[in-house]
């Protein structure tokens, strides 16, 4: 199952052009949802106004080389490895979900656009990556959903309590779960069920990509920008109005350790 391209098998019933149109429509939905989100929340406007204010308060002018190095460091540390989440479980679950989703989406696009006809042989690495990406997303996503969500850990709400903030993570894990089940039932030739899970997979994709305006989907576009701006503000001295670091020596080393927020 995991080395079989599910879209190639599907192309016997659904023309590959239909699958490609579906992918393009999903991409358009994401772009439209993000644009509506930007217009409604005015967050990008706030972001640039804030950056302008920070520039005025800067005590040091950064050269292009310095800026580039800060951006690269931010990409390496805060964007690619989400260091702001510390060294705990949240970071591992986030990384699993993030890379799993990226791998799943990229391989989906490649397989649908290049290998979705029965007569073209798919390199086995692609379906393998597609399934691995889906499994990683499910693992990271369900781990987060059941155990690590702040609503559950810090606020003591039960895992089954649904709020709007759950729309993104739930639709994401449900999409990848349906994808895996569909791939399994299709490769096992369980007729009827493969159609059912294909439809569910398609619908959950519509909820995931069509719900960008209402969900936290667009955070993956905003967060990197905010991290870069934060590090630039630290380097140019404006520091978002934060006090400068104290010049006292590090006295306590690892003596002070935070407990996880579970004292409800």
């Amino acid at each position: 199952m995991i080395t079989t391209n599910p879209f190639s098998e599907l192309s016997e019933f659904v023309p590959s052009i239909a699958m490609q149109v579906y992918v393009v429509v999903m991409m358009v939905l994401v772009i439209l949802g993000t644009l509506f989100d930007i217009i409604h929340k005015k967050n990008v406007k706030y972001f640039f106004e804030n950056a302008k204010k920070a520039k005025k308060q800067a005590t040091k002018t950064l050269g292009a080389g310095e800026k580039a190095s800060i951006v690269l460091k931010t990409v390496a540390s805060e964007i690619l490895t989400t260091s702001e989440l510390g060294a705990g479980k949240r970071r591992i679950s986030h990384l699993l979900g993030m890379y799993g989703t990226i791998i799943f989406w990229v391989t989906s696009v490649i397989m649908i656009f290049c290998y979705s006809t029965p007569n073209v042989l798919t390199p086995s690495i692609l379906p393998l990556l597609w399934h691995s990406g889906a499994i990683m997303t499910c693992f990271g996503g369900y781990w987060f959903w059941f155990f690590l969500r702040v609503d559950v850990t810090a606020e003591a709400n039960p895992w089954y309590r649904l709020i709007q903030a759950d729309l993104f993570v739930l639709s994401l894990v449900i999409t990848t779960t349906f994808a895996l089940i569909w791939s399994f039932v299709q490769s096992a030739n369980i007729s009827g069920w493969d159609t059912l899970f294909l439809v569910l997979f398609g619908l959950s994709n519509v909820v995931l990509f069509g719900g960008v305006y209402w969900s936290k989907f667009a955070h993956m576009f905003y967060k990197p920008g905010a991290a870069i701006q934060k590090n630039l503000a630290e380097a140019d001295g404006s520091r978002d109005n934060l006090p400068a670091p104290s010049d006292k020596p590090k006295q306590f080393g690892l003596g002070i350790k935070r407990e996880s927020p579970k004292h409800y």
Partner: protein, 156 residues
């Protein structure tokens, strides 16, 4: 001066929710980021400001001391044992303060109320709160002010 959260800095870790003695720091239902749900009930202990690992919580100053355009930010450096405050007024005046913070391990003095004896009826009806006067280091009870020293009109 109640607190508020910068959404772009908050990562929803829940430390402020955990530490708020007023139980007014909660997680927003749409963004899953921290939010002060009741700023007028904030008793301004700034535990959340100090606890935030991302410096995402700021203080909204009173209008008489820091009108619009001000900022009150705090940087807590646990390893150095310092807490620094930067207060910026609208006219650009800056005040910087740096103080030592407690060096007790985080979470060491969380009261284990389940292990404490149940209060008596008399203790419940008393004006003293939990662990008073012992917790205030006053053995003789709370200080009382004589009525003659009250400002005119404020006693009943």
């Amino acid at each position: 001066m109640p607190t508020f959260v910068y959404m772009t800095r908050c990562d929803g870790c829940g430390h402020c929710v955990d530490i708020c003695p007023s139980d007014i720091m909660h997680i927003d239902k749409i963004t899953r980021r921290a939010v002060n749900i009741e700023p007028n009930m904030c008793w301004e202990c700034y535990a959340c400001v100090k606890a935030c690992p991302n410096e995402a919580i700021d203080v909204r100053g009173y209008a008489d001391f820091a009108p619009m355009g001000h900022s009150v930010r705090v940087l807590r450096e646990e390893e150095k044992g310092t807490i620094s405050w930067k207060i910026k007024f609208r006219n650009g005046t800056e005040k910087n303060f740096e103080s030592p913070i407690t060096t007790k391990p985080w979470g060491k003095y969380i009261p284990k109320l389940a292990e404490v004896e149940e209060p008596t009826e008399e203790a419940i009806n008393s004006q003293l709160l939990y662990d008073e006067p012992k917790g205030l280091n006053i053995d003789t009870g709370l200080p009382k002010m004589k009525k003659e020293r009250f400002k005119k009109g404020i006693y009943y």
